[in-house]
Symmetry: C2
Subunit: 424 residues, 2 copies
């Protein structure tokens, strides 16, 4: 199986491209211009930006001009943007603390809009589980197809790792270790860095970002959720030294309430597999280990993912595999196990920031234009779960939030807790 | 500081060697002939074997003959061995399940023996904390100096790592990851392997051996005990396949009650340092990571210990260091921090099985013969704690047992538990 190849049929649809209304795209700064925009640019037959909403109309107008978005209309308030009928899909790429209000207002004000079919939000959907649940419910009631940027699932390294696991190439998984460095939360803070990153209440933290993305990826690769977990959360650096634009330390100290370390351990429900995780905040970085390491051991072999940055969802990786590939067959049910083999998988020039998100857009296009005649996806994708096809949804986001909430509970209650959630 | 060098004064004592009564030394099999005996052989001016106790007199007599122990008398019962006055020190190297009865009988029957001053026992002293406590108390009441084979503390790699930490070369430790493979507990069992290794009740397990030694080493390097811990213990392989002498699988399956995986996480009391540990049982071994990995991160640098086997106390290691060495000074209080420097420390032909135990015997000799005029050790060493000098005692063993008991409690109660113990 090769899930990193797109289907052999043409992916250029006969229908018109999906009309995209974008919230939070500025030509001058932010995340969207570095990730979503170049991805959309590579799929001109599938997506076309037709509306732009920013806090001020000037940003939208200037962005339209700069990027030559000739089909796009500028907006500066959610209600009029939401009722604009020339939009099939809305992408929301704003800071996490702002997601809830914008998405809820969008859903509320788009009720009479017949064309809006897709809502694509940045992870983490809401800044806590209550917000995420409310958004999930509102989107379900509104009847739109949701997409969440848990884009690590679309990383070619993650897909390849998942393939090797699903084909039995490392046998039965029997233990996993994860060690990752998540930036920002160290001894120093760049003076221009937004305050909310260091505020425990903002919902953007080592837990939601580094842990959330990474653990979603792990569950996706292993095709298993956790059944029991324990967590210990540390804020050992309650004050950070501000550093100026040139990286020089100032004399100013600022408060940090966001955690700088997470210890997490637990068992995967499928196979009762022990998983050990250490998520470290801040610099200095590790000297003798990669800043991202996911080491998966099985009865027939091992898989190891390594990356220079602690963010598997947006950094380039290397995948090491040693195990048994099935010969003469693409699945585990047939074919005889081959001799032990080794594979190093690395795409030297792969741009993970754009690439993983591009592959989410491709999956949306495949879903919408029904590009793949062999698709097994239902007409409405409530939850991607562990499918290769499709894209993660708000429901998948909610499941990660439920795990994060258990992490918080476990730390607070000093308990090893069972994990369970409705997956339907 | 260089604690791996012995003192400059002569280590050959003017007094007669310590007379050693050895329980469990056979010239033909077992652990002692591979470890204690070659160590003692290298210190002929300090130690001389004068008595030998084995289950049967034939083994003792044959061993005396084979090893040419011309000064040694053979025994086959503890009471007469214990009252033999031509002994200063007794070494007990028998299987863990037998330690308790032998040591207690020895202490009881040696009360009238004026010469017995030292008792040196294999880790883990007792097969559980109750036995360890009883032995510790009995030895204290009897007034002998105790020594325990937590010999990892004497490994030159561990001593060097401890030096670098104590001199501030990696700054303040802020996180630690440990991943180790502990043998025996995998899918297969060699047909000749003793049953007690796979019996949870025997006291010889992944917890006592792999975890016990490694965590003692970690606490020793960092000079800190744990303050809070959580543990999850797995027995995912309740049945093992027997393999014959040639490594070929038989059709026979045998029960295993001993755990095959331990997840452990916690915080060190000094600095509230998060520590993540994964102890994996059995083969197959890891493909892309060493079977022993201790990764210590600090504000100024990192230390990493790696080994091919999961047993830090008896396998050769490599120590990687990157950080700041103090210039012109041997301690942290003076001297200016140097530039970042790197060190790889490896003794290619170091025999860890013999070497670490040899260094325990050296420490005993230094203590007894007062070889080091600058010694800071008291006349009676109740607990080595985190001293470079001296040797681990029954009290140090008891502290590790208390931690292991907390691990068992944490797993059973599904709780994150505080750790505390009397260190005096």
């Amino acid at each position: 199986m090769n899930n990193n190849k797109r289907s052999y049929v043409s992916t250029v649809p006969k229908a018109s491209p999906l009309r995209v209304g974008f919230i939070g795209l500025s030509a001058y700064k932010g995340w969207a211009i570095k990730s979503h925009y170049p991805a959309i640019q590579q799929l001109p037959s599938q997506f076309q930006i037709t509306a732009l909403l920013n806090k001020d109309i000037e940003t939208s107008l200037a962005t339209i001009k700069k990027l030559k978005l000739t089909k796009a209309t500028a907006f500066d308030d959610v209600p009029s943007f939401a009722s604009y009928t020339n939009v099939d899909m809305v992408v929301i790429s704003v800071n996490v603390p702002e997601l809830y209000n914008i998405i809820m207002e969008l859903l509320e004000n788009s009720k009479a809009n017949p064309n809006l079919k897709y809502i694509y939000s940045e992870w983490s959907l809401g800044k806590n589980i209550e917000e995420a649940e409310a958004i999930h419910k509102a989107a379900k009631d509104r009847g739109v197809q949701t997409i969440i940027s848990l884009q690590g699932r679309k990383s070619p390294y993650i897909v390849r790792a998942k393939e090797l696991v699903s084909e039995g190439c490392i046998g039965k998984i029997n233990s996993i270790e994860i060690a990752a460095n998540g930036g920002w939360y160290g001894y120093e803070r760049p003076i221009k860095s937004p305050k909310y990153l260091y505020d425990a209440a903002s919902g953007v933290s080592l837990l939601s970002v580094a842990f959330g993305h990474t653990i979603d990826i792990l569950q996706y690769i292993t095709a298993s959720y956790f059944s029991e977990i324990n967590a210990m959360i540390f804020n050992n650096i309650p004050h950070q030294v501000l550093v100026d634009e040139h990286g020089k330390k100032t004399n100013e100290k600022v408060e940090k309430t966001a955690p700088d370390h997470l210890l997490f351990q637990g068992s995967l429900s499928h196979g009762n597999v022990p998983v050990s995780c250490s998520f470290k905040g801040g610099t200095p970085v590790k000297k003798f280990s990669k800043n991202l390491m996911i080491d998966i051991h099985g009865t027939k072999g091992d898989l190891k993912l390594e990356g220079d940055a602690g963010f598997a969802e947006m950094s380039n990786l290397v995948l090491y595999f040693c195990g048994q590939k099935m010969e003469g067959s693409v699945d585990t049910s047939a074919g005889s196990p081959g001799a032990e083999t080794m594979e190093v998988y690395h795409l030297r020039n792969y741009n993970s920031v754009v690439g993983n998100i591009l592959r989410i857009y491709e999956a949306i296009a495949d879903f919408h234009f029904k590009t793949n005649p062999h698709t097994k996806l239902p007409p409405k994708l409530e939850r991607q779960g562990f499918l290769f096809e499709g894209f993660p949804t708000f429901k998948d986001a909610l499941i990660v939030h439920q795990l994060i909430q258990r992490v918080v509970d476990s730390n607070q209650q000093k308990a090893t807790l069972p994990v369970s959630f409705e997956t339907v």
